[in-house]
Symmetry: C2
């Protein structure tokens, strides 16, 4: 397939990007080539054998009983998926894996649900294992009628179910000075998305009579770290929840079993786990974890104190350093897929660049598009063997925000910050189909001849 | 709280049932009572202690390190949830747990996602463990270009993600002659709901050139049972999928890893697991599993052969025999919650009866309402101690169907059928708050004095 034809594919896919058919007519005309290539690419089979039942020869699993349904009454993944797990790194442990994080394998994800076994886990004092019959939630402070609830009592309130992502504000925070990980899981896996069930805090407060002076809510954890964060009442009256259900079952211990706070779209550390106390006051608490951590240091040396929402962001999940294109043949048609999310609202569009942000085409949003939730996006691409590409995605939300370039973000916040990094990210597709995490200075970083200035991580 | 007041609550909740506030104003005015009751009901705490930090005394989990994040990189539920599992019964095993079913604990579910570890599992030859690198999908028969695909090749097609339930047509099928199980899990747990990711078969077929004579598609499994079912082409061209992703990760072995067929809304056994072959022909195959099983025997002695879609259905999940009301105090306000689903379309409404189907009020649909998917519904109720109730739910769908009464269904199909039972179901709330599964002959089953004729299962 020559360059011209390959370009036409990109164009037609672009034309069809808003079409619910995902430009399939064009895609499948071209896919005849894929199928033939595909068959040629399989060692055991050739296309003329395809109709031959010989390929359905006996297999170990086709010729003997499988396991009875009485085995694994709570199931686990296939043994062939043993590499799909949360991962950790000493770089993030500060020498103590009880105040650390294990991140989600986004490269293996599909849809917008993260299974509970893979949901990222950030702890400040390790994973507590709480007996729900002994656990209590105290609601106190500037309220007319303080309350202590058992889990049974809490669950009598009318429940609500919402699908939201939770993201650690440090997601991508190691990379202000350039790529540190040649890995999607470590570069962007400080987040996951799930279906949450619980109760709106505003619905409980209607019982208690919150006093006018109450402007802030303290949420405190019952684990050994006593994690404490202060939430402004505007958010409490909006959509803050106490949740006990995650993806159809009880929260896992590492997610705060039996209950955690959910502050949709805001920093993950605000979603206090093992929640034991809500306290209302007229001033913020300035707890350890909202002064020593979770503030954004600016070039001036001053820090941004109250910085809550995770801004609009996106990433390419396939290809990625873990899911490369080394097995593709010239002319193969492949789906470029990614995630977009915003803590400020709903994703309205995602642009995709093949030249590191100089030119963009529009990608297609797939499946459910919900507020403060992961949104899947996709773009059909014809692979040209040996062609270098710089894949950069850029998301927009209905709050009116768009992802900044690396240069725009650095000009604003500098490189001393750890949190709230949402500049566009670039994967370089190497000549051999390998994927490298690079940083492209898209606006300022071009030489006179237009060549990109790139900092890479092999 | 006297009867009159309690009736007012029911009425006001009814008035508000279409209101997005779930009748909360009324609910929370009444809930002041709940809170006090609640506190009185807790042995350790009294309301005046609520503000007293003494209740936040040291706990085992609050005074020592928890587990490091490096433990359980693929997580599991809390040890306190050990009773929340799939369950099986010899009644359904025909002496062989490799051709049997393990059912989902609907009583513990929340939202519309069933976690993969609890998704119901029906097998005909046991759970196969297939090596995805060795697995092939053959597409053959009346097509211009037969094809054999590796899993890698299959996953290059543009993926789609949809949330659908899968239901065994035998769900509730033991109860044509009356209740057999005083259990929601066994009475209705032959179904689960998940987010599925895969490819529309119609999109692959565009490559292969399906011949005009092809009217039926055989789907065959690669496990030892070689499960085979025939699908009419209308459904294939509509929304039949080959799926590899479930709730954001690879299918579990008991769900057909690495791939299964998904025929949205139709009998679960059509969603052939461990899929290895699609074959196109002009006639149905009449495989063993679509003649010896999965046909509906009528009173005439004749069987309905081609019977695919799971009809509109619903159940009350809370209260249920497993989640009773024995702990409620008179006047407590409690949420009655349930599920509704239809394989023919989208749920348009759910009615709830407190007298076994004589009178109905409208329940509120909660959260996402999607086609061929579970829909949560809810109704706020004020519990009157000692009052007997007959809770019956009745769902409607946008295909124009409504659940039949027990009598209507029996008049049509008799009691010899095993499959496709979707008559309304009734939980009796006993004087002490226990829940009993009963059957109410709602139309014909009333004596001259209007008293209900009830067949019960203690």
């Amino acid at each position: 397939m020559d360059i011209k034809k390959s370009q036409q594919d990109v164009e037609s896919a672009t034309d069809n990007s808003k079409d619910s058919s995902l430009g399939r007519r064009d895609f499948f005309r071209k896919t005849a080539a894929l199928s033939v290539t595909a068959l040629a690419g399989t060692s055991l089979l050739a296309s003329e054998e395809a109709g031959d039942p010989a390929i359905l020869e006996p297999t170990p699993w086709g010729t003997k009983w499988g396991d009875p349904v009485t085995k694994n009454l709570y199931g686990m993944p296939s043994k062939y998926e043993h590499n799909v797990t949360r991962r950790y790194t000493k770089l993030l442990a500060s020498g103590n894996f009880r105040a650390s994080i294990a991140v989600t394998p986004l490269q293996e994800s599909s849809g917008i649900i993260t299974p509970n076994g893979l949901f990222f886990s950030r702890c400040h004092g390790g994973v507590a294992h709480i007996d729900p019959n002994e656990h209590r939630l105290m609601i106190t402070g500037l309220v007319e009628k303080p309350l202590v609830l058992t889990m049974k009592q809490l669950k009598r309130y009318p429940s609500v179910t919402r699908t939201h992502f939770i993201e650690c504000p440090a997601n991508g925070g190691q990379e202000w000075r350039g790529p540190q990980y040649n890995s999607l899981q470590f570069a962007k896996g400080f987040m996951s998305c799930a279906e949450w069930t619980g109760v709106y805090i505003k619905d409980i407060l209607k019982d208690l009579g919150v006093k006018k002076e109450a402007l802030w809510m303290l949420a405190e954890g019952g684990d050994s770290s006593k994690m404490g964060r202060t939430i402004p009442m505007e958010k409490v009256w909006d959509d803050a929840m106490i949740v006990w259900g995650q993806n159809g079952e009880a929260l896992r211990p590492e997610q705060g079993y039996p209950i955690r706070l959910l502050v949709p779209g805001w920093e993950g550390n605000l979603c206090v786990k093992w929640l034991r106390r809500l306290d209302f006051a007229s001033e913020p608490w300035y707890c350890k974890e909202e002064t020593s951590k979770y503030t954004v240091l600016k070039p001036t040396g001053k820090a941004i104190q109250h910085f809550y929402a995770n801004e609009v962001n996106s990433t390419v999940t396939s290809p990625s350093p873990e899911i490369d294109w080394t097995d593709l043949e010239d002319g193969d048609i492949v789906e470029i897929e990614g995630l977009a999310w915003s803590g400020m609202g709903t994703i309205t569009g995602v642009d995709l660049s093949f030249d590191g942000g100089k030119n963009y085409v529009e990608a297609k949003l797939k499946g459910l598009v919900l507020p403060k939730c992961w949104t899947r996006w996709s773009y059909m691409h014809t692979y040209k063997k040996g062609q270098e590409l710089f894949l950069t995605s850029r998301a927009r939300d209905d709050a009116g925000y768009i992802q900044p370039t690396v240069d725009q973000e650095i000009l604003t916040v500098g490189v001393e910050a750890v949190y709230h990094r949402n500049a566009v990210e670039t994967w370089k597709v190497e000549k051999d189909g390998k994927i490298t995490h690079v940083e492209v200075r898209s606006q300022l970083g071009r030489k006179a001849n237009g060549e990109l200035v790139i900092e890479g991580k092999a």
